[in-house]
Symmetry: C2
Subunit: 273 residues, 2 copies
DNA sequence: CAAATAGTGTCTCTAAGACAATATCAC
DNA sequence: GTGATATTGTCTTAGAGACACTATTTG
């Protein structure tokens, strides 16, 4: 660096210009066992998402994605991981940046733009981790998630025991031809988080359809049927198992292990190739 | 909003917490006619990108993506469009968010995180628009762009008349399993812009391969051969025309118009379906 | 006619969708 | 054997890749 650059930098003050606050919000997805009535039936899988109940205004007592403010000397990815750990005690090894939400007025506290991330927790980790609210979060909970077209309306439904949240969204393209979701109606979700959840789910579905991120829902070793159920739970579309097996075969490696004592033919265990 | 929320907001001061400066950087791609020697040969197409020469430190006289600081009451998309217009006089109707670059130390001025965008200018607009440097930008220029694997190295080459810039990058996955580029060597590009350009090009290529963003390089009406040349210029891979035509046919609609006076068989004009 | 580009036909092979059939466990 | 799930086979159809061939203009 030459003298001119050094001089310039010495007198340059970023603080002289307006700056927004920057946050991250993380949509953590997992799977939830669903008991299916019937003699000796295997449990099904449902997609679920981790939310926190806000303990502080704004949107006190509403449900929100975990997340928080970016700090100096961390990347947005590190911030996402840190905030998630602080607020819910969940730890993730995988993140995808979904988008940036910067609509003026999206946060009543003022000029705040948010980086949305997506993550996936495996059933294993989901079970072993003690999810608990802390910090800004009064409480953290897994919500079963549905995202369907009902009579021309795109509806997001989130359920956790006695709590029911919902939102209607619409996929549009903005002034710069970028696809995004617009919130038509919102019941119980904080900020513009219905929009973020819809975007994240849209992203997740296309990834899982193409056999990406699909393995992150399961432990190291899994059966092909489990893998298929992941895809069906995420996309909410049934698949024919013969065809699914053929397609997935390029992405998995056989092991010599089998499931045991399940009351039906044992299934071979596979690993990701 | 209830009284508790109102009270809270009245006393809440975002300024009490540290905030980064936020910028946008825009990778604008276009096509450049390339004269091919030979009797009656049609010109070829080369991918090019719009860069500015920095008129101010830091990186004075280096070449950089156009872009600048986010202002209150605008979205990052609007900021990208505005800065592009201010610095280069180019106007775009299309943007894609490529990623956010927040590595501490990426800007010597301090804590600055950047939103990278991608855009495409049609040959038409590219020709009609008077590209000119202004503002922070001493000068704006189109650079021919190559992005190839040479002896195991991934090399970015940018050429504009007498100016030659280059960078070697490497595709890696970061601590959160996110794909990104790492700069191995850099000659003449400011900041981490080699990384951003590589990401943008990677994104653009996969879009164009799947017949998205491909139409934005051309005017309303075009021939199938032109469309094919766009794909070949962007991906730097040849395609067999019979196969290309079959695949693209689902995405285009015939018109009754033909090219004229070209010294060979006229070509039918198509529009995007 | 020659040069150049536009456009069609067809063969092969791979992969997807649908569906039928067989295999193997626990009880 | 029965209930349940696991796994394989196969028929049909759609699409990709490769390549040969025909068509139409201007000079």
């Amino acid at each position: 660096m030459n003298q001119e650059e050094k001089n310039f930098l010495q007198h340059y003050r970023l603080e002289d210009y307006p700056r927004p606050s920057v946050t991250t919000d993380i949509a953590v997805f997992g799977l939830h066992q669903e008991i299916i009535p019937g003699y000796r039936r295997e449990p099904g899988k449902k997609l679920c998402i981790l939310l926190i109940r806000r303990g502080m205004p704004p949107f006190k007592d509403c449900w929100a994605l975990p997340g928080g403010f970016l700090r100096p000397s961390e990347t947005v990815e590190l911030c996402a991981g840190r905030e998630l750990k602080e607020e819910t005690n969940a730890e993730v090894r995988l993140l995808r940046h979904i988008g940036i939400f910067s609509q003026p007025g999206r946060d009543p506290r003022g000029w705040i733009i948010s980086n949305a991330f997506l993550s996936v927790l495996s059933e294993e980790k989901l079970a072993s981790m003690e999810i608990q609210g802390a910090d800004d979060a009064a409480c953290a909970k897994w919500f079963d998630l549905e995202f369907q077209n009902i009579q021309g309306k795109t509806v997001l439904t989130l359920r956790s025991e006695e709590i029911l949240l919902s939102a209607e969204v619409k996929k549009i393209t903005n002034a710069f031809a970028m696809p995004e979701f617009e919130i038509i109606e919102n019941n119980g979700l904080a900020f513009d988080h219905a929009k973020i959840i819809a975007s994240a789910l849209d992203y997740l579905r296309s990834e899982v359809k193409d056999f990406r991120l699909i393995f992150d829902f399961l432990p190291e070793q899994f059966t092909l049927t489990e893998l298929q159920k992941v895809q069906e739970a995420v996309t909410e579309e049934p698949v024919l198992s013969a065809n699914f097996r053929r397609k997935i075969s390029y992405y998995v490696a056989e092991t010599d292990l089998f499931t045991e004592g399940a009351g039906h033919r044992p299934a071979r265990l596979y690993t990701k190739k």
